[in-house]
């Protein structure tokens, strides 16, 4: 164990993946998760308040 245990995957992805079929669209679930996360991250970046703004107001 030790190092080798740490280096092995916690989640084993070495099996045939699941695929989403929407009409002509075929998408692996892993890619869908990545793309979904990108959209969520983008929208969060737009909406979440950016820290530091308070400092500026109190400052000058």
């Amino acid at each position: 164990m030790g190092l080798t245990g740490l280096l092995g995957a916690v989640f084993n992805l070495d099996h045939v993946g699941k695929y989403i079929h929407w009409g002509f669209i075929q998408l692996s679930v892993s890619n869908a998760i990545v793309i979904g996360l990108m959209i969520v991250t983008f929208i969060s970046a737009l909406f979440l308040p950016f820290p530091g703004r308070r400092n500026r107001k109190e400052g000058k």
Binding site: A9, V34, L37, M38, A45, L46, F50, R56
Partner: protein, 203 residues
């Protein structure tokens, strides 16, 4: 009257560089107050991911192309390389979306946009040559499929995706050099021109 020293290529280059990009523009200590959104972090995140991609790639390069199949440590470094690439593309695409919706090419910043798009294409090429240099089933399948696309454009005559040596050289020498050089130009443009100001709202 200009002296001989003023006319020297070296003097002229230094003067132009310092004039265009004085130290306080290259390494600024303030930002316009409108630069206050999480959307601004994706450029620097892309840069950071590029640094990790290059670092992990260098470790893989030290031991050669087959090491990662044969050693647990090698496989782990390969995993670091893969996931830093995933973060790199993830951040770069969000950066692109953000810059598009800010119309960040305004105010003489067109070349910043163009170098960014070219960087995206270079990165896709670097990613692709990486996939075909893996020396496993994935690279066999991807290269035998991709050859038809490249051959159809005529590119196959000079860019043979089935030639491992050629693809590996593109992946670890030519494309990283291009990506780093373009990144430098892209970032320098940003520093010279500053961050694009908000649209003026007509009241």
């Amino acid at each position: 009257m200009s002296t001989e020293i003023d006319r020297q290529w070296t003097t002229r280059l230094r003067k132009t560089v310092v004039e265009k990009l004085p130290p306080d523009k290259l390494l600024p200590d303030t930002q316009p107050a409108y630069v206050a959104s999480w959307i601004y972090v994706f450029g620097v995140t892309t840069l950071a991911a590029l640094a990790i991609v290059i670092l992990t790639g260098c470790v893989l390069a030290m031991k050669g192309p087959l090491w990662w199949h044969l050693s647990g440590t090698g496989h782990f470094v390969n995993s670091l390389h893969l996931w830093s690439v995933e973060i790199f593309f993830f951040a770069m695409v969000i950066h692109l979306w953000g810059k598009y919706f800010m119309a960040a090419w305004r105010g003489g910043r067109q070349l910043t946009w163009v170098t960014g798009v070219v960087l995206f294409l270079t990165s896709v090429g670097a990613g692709f040559t990486g996939y075909v240099s893996q020396t496993n089933y994935d690279s066999q399948w991807i290269s035998t499929q991709a050859k038809d696309g490249i051959n159809a454009t005529g590119g196959g005559a000079i860019f043979n995706v089935l030639n491992l040596g050629q693809m590996l050289m593109w992946h670890i020498v030519l494309l990283p050099l291009a990506a780093v050089a373009l990144t430098a130009v892209h970032v320098i443009y940003v520093r010279i021109k500053g961050v694009v100001p908000p649209f003026e709202e007509v009241k």
